[in-house]
Symmetry: C2
Subunit: 207 residues, 2 copies
């Protein structure tokens, strides 16, 4: 094993991604520029092109990493919980925690801009894998007789909506509201998790 040196350090990709994340946290994904990323990484502005083909490549890499992290967080939460309903709730809490803990990833993952086909093909499978965790948990719930009143897919998406909404509001900031409206994220997280449980237990009729 060789230790990479500063020049040709072999670590540049990671450093670039880190720099990008920190820029996104500070200024949002809209005004991100390759030159600023390179500056932030302490490297000439052409260097990133050796590792990521272009700007979209950097963002796609981040989004893919983000979904991988999310999936890992969800799986780990699911494994630690006992019983289907607890797993469903734990999933929801983990989702919100992920978003709050990694706001830059979260923004990149769900930014509405059109992605190139190449970017999409790279990110989409990772996203799907994360989504699959939720699907599995819901399946397990149904086998245990929970949430039978709602179509499974609707249950998955409603659960997802609930936690995604809280996550969005927490991450994107209550640009809308007076300060302090969201000042107790942990309590909100708990309430939202309870909501998920209620959703399951009640099995609201899907007409």
């Amino acid at each position: 094993m060789k230790r990479p040196t500063a020049y040709h350090h072999g670590d540049l990709p990671r450093i670039i991604l880190r720099a990008t994340l920190s820029l996104i946290e500070q200024e949002g994904v809209a005004h991100l520029s390759m030159r600023e990323i390179a500056r932030n990484a302490g490297v000439s502005h052409a260097a990133p092109y050796h590792h990521f083909g272009d700007k979209a490549g950097v963002i796609a890499a981040l989004a893919a990493d983000g979904f991988e992290l999310l999936e890992a967080a969800l799986r780990s939460a699911v494994e630690r919980a006992e019983g289907p309903q607890a797993r469903f709730e734990a999933c929801g809490r983990a989702y919100v925690r992920f978003a709050v803990g990694h706001p830059a990833y979260f923004r990149v993952m769900f930014r509405p801009e059109r992605a190139s086909a190449e970017e999409h093909s790279r990110v989409s499978p990772r996203a799907h894998a994360a989504y699959q965790v939720l699907v599995e948990v819901v399946s397990e719930c149904r086998r245990a007789g929970l949430g039978l009143g709602v179509a499974p897919r609707a249950l998955v998406l409603t659960g997802w909506s609930t936690v995604h909404g809280l996550a969005s509001l927490l991450v994107n900031g209550p640009s809308a509201l007076g300060a302090g409206a969201l000042d107790n994220p942990e309590r909100l997280e708990r309430v939202v998790a309870k909501t998920l449980g209620t959703l399951l237990a009640q099995g609201a009729r899907d007409r």
Copy 2:
């Protein structure tokens, strides 16, 4: 009453806002440019500066209008429903409908970018007014003995999260998921509304 003519038509502000909305729908808010807006409005690229001070001014105007429309939609939904719980649910459905019906407004209203102080002062009161509708409905619910198990503010925010999440996923597109995952928004909207009802009826214990 004078009819404005094409030159000095007096309608340019409205036309510019319309053009901006249509650009946002097509390409997102990220790559929006003043010159493109002017082009889209069929006017020289300096013309918009006479009506909105700068680029941020155009976006602030849209966001303010958006919150005004949202408030109107919520109030109208509330007025048409009977009973506190029905009003709460109607509010949620109206929120989702608003987002789906006016995706460009929705994106501008909740875009995470830092706003200037001036922009904030212009948009914030409108946002607060819309938020207030929810607060009032929740108050009414509590007076009717609904949702007593949850702190009122938590109830407002959880309800908001639930509908905001669905709205975000519908508007920002399931860039994450395979096509078709969200192909029945109406059914989802119904399930989400039911979730709100469940939230209230159950009054999930906060802790």
